[in-house]
Symmetry: C2
Subunit: 206 residues, 2 copies
């Protein structure tokens, strides 16, 4: 199976701007991408980074560049590949080899791992006609797209793959459940902030 990890390096993670400056956001995005690639490798896969923006990709894995939109770049891979393809987002800081193994092993011609808020954080495609569209509530659109081409659809129930790191509150999930470089990076700068309801983060004194 070909495992593609899309990575937009130029100005990543803008929704983290309230708590991280541009350099920090680039550093965290790179750390997460390395963690994801390592988890793919540990699950037995060979990750290939799909860089959808200019800029250095500081990851020890083959890099393919396609500076069109995420959707266009992924669809170009799907169209050009006869083998099964997995697409795993680079900001899944909680991804483990186990969770990715469940994804890769799930049967179904299209396997979707939903993200929080309607995204599609990871997928496996084993159907020649299936194409992605990452705008809006993409998991809903991908279900419809799979039905449209007659692909057997399966959804993977994984909290670790559902949790992409987009909003400041996601940094709490990294502290609570991560165990890679990104977790260490966040822990150097933030503590959990517990004050009723869901836990958040607060900058540490450093």
């Amino acid at each position: 199976m070909r495992v593609v990890v899309p990575y937009g390096a130029a100005d990543p993670k803008t929704r983290l701007s309230p708590v991280l400056d541009a350099g920090e956001r680039r550093a965290l995005a790179a750390a997460m991408c390395r963690d994801v690639c390592e988890a793919v490798q540990a699950s037995g896969g060979d990750p290939e980074v799909l860089a959808t923006a200019t800029g250095r990709v500081p990851v020890d894995a083959p890099v393919r560049r396609d500076e069109r939109s995420l959707t266009a770049a992924v669809n170009a891979v799907l169209a050009a590949t006869e083998d099964d393809v997995a697409v795993v987002m680079a900001d899944l800081a909680l991804a483990t080899p186990d969770a990715l193994g469940r994804l890769f092993d799930a049967d179904g011609e299209v396997v979707l791992a939903p993200g929080l808020g309607g995204g599609t954080n990871a997928l496996v495609c084993r159907h020649p006609a299936f194409r992605v569209d990452y705008h809006g509530a993409s998991v809903r659109d991908h279900r419809a797209a799979a039905r449209e081409v007659g692909a057997r659809l399966r959804e993977l129930d994984s909290f670790r793959l559902a949790t992409d790191v987009d909003d400041p509150s996601d940094l709490a999930e990294v502290l609570l459940h991560g165990d890679g470089e990104a977790r260490e990076w966040v822990a150097d700068r933030f503590d959990l902030a517990v004050d009723g309801g869901r836990v958040g983060v607060a900058r540490t004194g450093n």
Copy 2:
């Protein structure tokens, strides 16, 4: 296995107040509790509602009343039960028989299903000395508590069990992934609101 579903009926889901009035919050909480009990039944379990507040419990399942705190009420059950005990929160509107089956079947003397923001949305206890504490980042505390009593710990990786319905944004998850009474209730009142980033909800015209 004894399956306990804690349910605080008096003024539930206060964090949904920005979008739902008190009567609506009670109706949604009751619908979710019925959905959870049905999913437990469909997975082969016999749910028992643990009512931690006064008020009617409009659910077709045995009800045990204990109006102390959630923590005290659950610990009383754990102390009084020699059999294995599962504790499944009543607001897991995405829970399916499959996800609950994975929880009940997971080995480990303590099995934790983390919730978003550090909660513990469901657990299985097969160790006589383990006790809960639902304050703060409870999943972290429950890991420590399991270690302290020497219980073999396992965590269940489930998006469906991680998603409790507490914040308005969770209503979007119900629309996207639910299929029970609660989903229908939310769909009668809200639409998905897609505007970049994670999807939210907006009141419909009704």
